[in-house]
């Protein structure tokens, strides 16, 4: 199964067919999520209208973790099975993941100021997400730091795997340490403790962010594969 998708020519055909669906799904899910989140969902009884920041903050934070997990899984696949697309998938995921991490930090800060009275605190949840941001940054610097792309990919893959230890730390930081940040209210044992009128836009936005990730990932993977072809043609020209 994996071998079938490993063929770059097959991937180019498949991704060309999937990209428009991801684009359409992102726009429809995003529009529905924004409509429900901004117009239909009620204000929170404690937080008032500021709770609407949740509809961008929480999906961005989920995707920051999802992208890092995908990047680590792709890196492991690349290291163990030398899968030809795995390195490219990890490399293409990093810039998308860092965007989501940046958004989680910024929107969290914009939510923290009115609710906690501060833009930032050095507590476990916020600090571990900041570490995630620097892990992405380190990965992107390392993957391009070598003249030989294969060496850069290998070094960056090791960093991605070592840094994966941070992902469960982020997820459980609100349970393990005292934090200003509230604990999980959707992804937890016993099911979500959030009203359906708020859960629906939250999940729609999360789905929209997920299809957005696959949309941009496929676009970047196509660009990486074409860049590889161009490099191969130029090398052949140089070496006759």
């Amino acid at each position: 199964m994996i071998q079938r998708f490993a063929n770059p020519n097959r991937f180019m055909r498949l991704s060309a067919a999937v990209v428009p669906w991801m684009a359409g799904a992102t726009m429809i899910l995003g529009a529905a999520g924004l409509y429900l989140g901004l117009f239909q969902a009620p204000a929170d009884y404690q937080q008032g209208e500021s709770v609407r920041i949740m509809y961008v903050h929480v999906p961005a934070a989920w995707m920051a973790l999802f992208c890092y997990t995908s990047m680590a899984a792709a890196s492991a696949t690349a290291l163990i099975w030398k899968h030809p697309l795995a390195d490219l998938a990890a490399r293409s995921t990093a810039p998308i993941g860092i965007c989501f991490t940046f958004l989680a930090l910024i929107t969290g800060s914009l939510w923290g100021k009115p609710m906690w009275g501060t833009w930032w605190v050095w507590d476990a949840r916020l600090t571990s997400v900041l570490v995630l941001f620097f892990l992405y940054l380190g990965y992107m610097a390392l993957v391009n730091a070598f003249d030989d792309p294969a060496r850069g990919a290998k070094a960056a893959a090791v960093l991605a795997l070592v840094g994966f230890v941070n992902v469960p730390i982020i997820k459980f930081s609100v349970d393990w340490w005292n934090s200003l940040h509230q604990p999980a209210s959707v992804l937890k044992l016993g099911g979500p403790s959030i009203h359906p009128s708020m859960l629906a836009p939250l999940l729609l936005m999360a789905l929209a962010f997920t299809t957005y990730y696959f949309w941009v990932l496929l676009v970047r993977l196509r660009a990486e594969i074409i860049s590889g072809k161009i490099r191969a043609i130029r090398l052949r020209q140089v070496h006759g």
């Binding site: 209208e49 929107t107 941009v216 161009i230």
Partner: protein, 71 residues
Amino acid sequence: MDRGFSESVSAFLDMGGYAAFVWPSFAITAVVLVGMLVASLRWLRSTEAALAALQAERGAKRGAGEAAGEA
């Protein structure tokens, strides 16, 4: 315009006094995600154009070589 309508629009824009936090959150998210998408699409277009140019160049050389061989 209907006064009730414009009042409800300004109440919506006010976000219960949290407008300065809610709207920047949505605006920054939109700017970053659209920016990432546009940059990725532009990069793909530029690689596609570069590959097409290289292939046309190679095709032209090959065509020229074949013509020379026939002569």
